[in-house]
Amino acid sequence: MARPTSRHSRPGRTLLVLLALIFALGGTMFLQKAFTPKLGLDLAGGTTMTLKPVTLNNAAPPEEILDRAVSIIRDRVNGTGVSDAEVAKSGSNIIISIPGVGQNEALKLVSTTAEMRFRQVLASAATQAPQDLATNAPSPTPSGSASPTATPKSGKSGKSSQVSTPKPSTSPTGKALSSALTAPTPAASAEAPSASTSAQPSATQGSQKQQKKGQDAKATPTAAPSAQPSTPPAQDQGINTQGIDPAVLAQFNKLDCTKKENRGQGVQDDPAKQYAACESDGSYKYVLDVAKVVGTDIDSASAGIPQSSVNWAVELNFKSKGADAWAKLTQEAYSAQPPRNQVAVVLDGVVITAPNIQGPIPGGKAQITGNFDQTSATQLADQLKYGALPLKFTRQSIDTVSSTLGQDQLQGGLIAGAIGLALVVVYSMLYYRGLGIVAVLSLAVATIITYTAVVVLGHNANFRLSLPHIIGLVVSIGITADSFIVYFERIRDEMKEGRRSLRAAIEVAWVRARRTILIADAVMFIAAIVLYFLAVGGVAGFAFAMGLTTLIDIVVVFLFTKPFIALLARLKFFAKGHPLSGLDSERMSEAHTSSRPTKPQEA
């Protein structure tokens, strides 16, 4: 038998710890001015959006592609928190509903295509928009091409764009010089007659640091005296058109990146074809090679501030196949002449950055920097992590919807639940009498902690209560109750043996009951963890609630029930076994008058 440890138990202190915990939760509630839990789709309604797939010939997209889009959207929408969202197909449309009114931004985010593609730059040109030039020219001095500028990010002030960490660069200028003068293909010259007249002066004479946007006519006026920025054909000047699909080149020439619609969301770029695209801020346009590395090559993505930096960045890890392709792509770009030493990061058909490659990058890692803040970096990382949508969608409608469950159902449920709880209280008091007070108070403490925890989690982790959660919490009453019932019965067992004082019995019984409670709660907790990480949608939120109540159960039993009983044991009422204490002598007597088999009534 374990020795009574009453000398060491300090119930008062333990209760103070509990009080501190409750005050911490309550205080957080007050500080955040949040007093009610956030409710889920079924209880509070939410925002719903209908997405219509866009296909080239307006035909309905294949079923399996639509299914893939649904599953990706579901992952994205549920990857952002523990609230339950709904995603369903309706014909070839997709309907997304998420809890909470006015969640338009969140909905737009989950429906963004977000296929990231890495394409080598074949040609590039600045756009003519005056405001872009004002902000993007490295300096007002006209000698941009002749003298190396201070930073490798010459093209765009204030926006760093690097893939991987900068490495000390060895200049590939020699190669660049030799190949930049290659004659354009006849087809290209037919398309753009002026292309052949000038052989990319800025890039060939400039330092390696000026390669990016080296043919930016405005920024390097000395290099391209013949450039007429206002006339589209002039942009071909200085472009090495070798290997460029003439159709794409024509597209490139026509592309007007100053227009917002040309750099909006969701232009479908075919990864197997060359592609003309705009920089996301409209300052540059590019001819891009086929995508050598695509979104599905990405293994994981995370947002963070890299060491030795102050700006947010998205870090990518490629899968093994992607890592090889990435190493090969950077090797190719590294040995190419400008501007082909740039690799454009294309998201939804728009170039988000097109950094110089300053060395081959093995190891399957990349870092995208740009003008990210925490939100945009996290968004991008999430989009990449949860996969790319295989389709482009247009948003048909964004609407507010009411709860799917009538207010009457919620009210009825709450009333019925309250009646049920009252029954539990009555039963506990009848059966356990004095100890029933402990039981009822334990339940009350558990309720307070659960309520505050749900409110605090709602406001900090977007945990939203749905009806199943509430029922789950009500059921967890049974589990919370079980913990102290196990303990009570153990105390009674010890008392029945008749060798101990109540205070000693309480300690001995605790040692045994504690083990049972911990093992049983561990089972619940394992269930919660497995379900949380493996299941989807509503189940994850439910598992979260289940894990939460299990933890609360342990907190209540350890920090309240046990010390509170220890305190009560000091009262004469309990220690002497008053008939109403629940520890009376009749109950504890060792009378065994009957050993007749009785029919179990509970099954």
Partner: protein
């Protein structure tokens, strides 16, 4: 002494283990009936799993009750009624309706809410809990069971883990069987109810096994009890706890089920609380009458406990582990 009084005083001696034949046949019967129900009737899956039809229309003056009544009157089961936007828009999700019913519902709406027929749109909607979600749920369930078996094998022993899992599957199948036979709709809420049962059933079994482990740990060559006697003894020891716990857990659920549904009629509340109500009763029964007898059946095969049983049988000091009709179990 009346049963209530004996229960109150904790003086009960029920031969759960000895009656294993009865429990096994009862459970076997229930399992067969349940499986038959699942095979013959199948589960009545809700719109969330099967997809259905969505009606959208605008009716400024209608109330939720009116709209719901309207659909129920047309023979639609459990319509999900929502308002959309702020200008009297409605969105009602129903099970997949046949052409005839669809037109009938549309004309009824047009007539009763004074909506131009052309402005009532109906579209089929896919499952929001599609096959992929269900598939993930099954994977989750499988991993969960493995994790529990591992944990219980370490905390207790593999045979206890096996018995607990068998009891768990038993509970789930019987609860599902009740759904199959009754035709109650299975919604995501029902599914979550099943998950709660899963946790609850295990929890109950674990508490009982903990006591069995404690009691049977004392068994040795000279002990006067067979494993089955000791296990039965342990069961009776925790019987009060089992009953009290179950009662406390079932009371709120029963209140929601009976009061909630009589006040409100059918709905999500009923779906959820019925699954819980049935599951909890079956769960309590199975930890007493399925998990423990099964564990005893497994354990009595071990040479150590066979030896004890043999010795006790020869000296007449005890009853054989199986078929013992008497409940003359020594109290520890």
């Amino acid at each position: 002494m009346g049963l209530a009084r004996r229960l109150y005083r904790g003086e009960i001696d029920v031969d759960f283990v000895g009656k294993w034949r009865l429990w096994y046949s009862l459970s076997g019967f229930l399992l067969v009936v349940s499986l038959a129900g699942l095979l013959i009737n199948g589960l009545n899956l809700g719109v969330e799993f099967k997809g259905g039809t969505v009606f959208s229309f605008k009716a400024q003056t209608a109330t939720i009750e009116q709209v719901r009544e309207e659909f129920l009157a047309e023979g639609v089961h459990q319509p999900i009624v929502q308002t959309t936007g702020t200008d009297g828009g409605w969105r009602v999700t129903t099970e997949t309706l046949q052409e005839g019913t669809l037109a009938q519902v549309q004309s009824a709406i047009a007539k009763d809410f004074n909506v131009p027929a052309g402005q009532i749109s109906s579209q089929s909607i896919g499952a929001s809990w599609g096959g992929e979600v269900s598939q993930k749920a099954w994977i989750g369930l499988g991993v969960f069971m493995l994790a529990i078996i591992l944990y219980l094998s370490m905390a207790f022993e593999p045979k206890m883990a096996l018995a607990a899992i068998v009891a768990l599957v038993h509970d789930l199948v019987i609860t599902a069987g009740i759904y199959a036979w009754s035709g109650f709709e299975v919604t995501p809420a029902t599914l979550l109810g099943f998950l709660t049962i899963l946790g609850y059933s295990l929890y109950d079994a674990v508490v009982v096994f903990d006591m069995i482990k404690e009691v049977t740990a004392k068994l040795g060559h000279t002990s006067k009890m067979t494993y089955s006697m000791a296990a039965n003894n342990a069961l009776n020891h925790t019987l009060i706890r089992s009953l009290n716990t179950s009662l406390v857990a079932i009371l709120p659920v029963a209140a929601i089920l009976f009061i909630g549904t009589t006040l409100l009629g059918a709905g999500v509340l009923k779906d959820l609380s019925l699954a819980l109500f049935v599951g909890m009763i079956v769960g309590t029964y199975s930890s007493l009458c399925v998990a423990t007898p099964l564990l005893v059946t497994l354990k009595e095969r071990e040479p150590k406990y066979q030896a004890i049983a043999k010795r006790l049988a020869s000296t007449g000091g005890g009853k054989g582990p199986k078929g013992s009709k008497s409940a003359a179990v020594a109290k520890g």
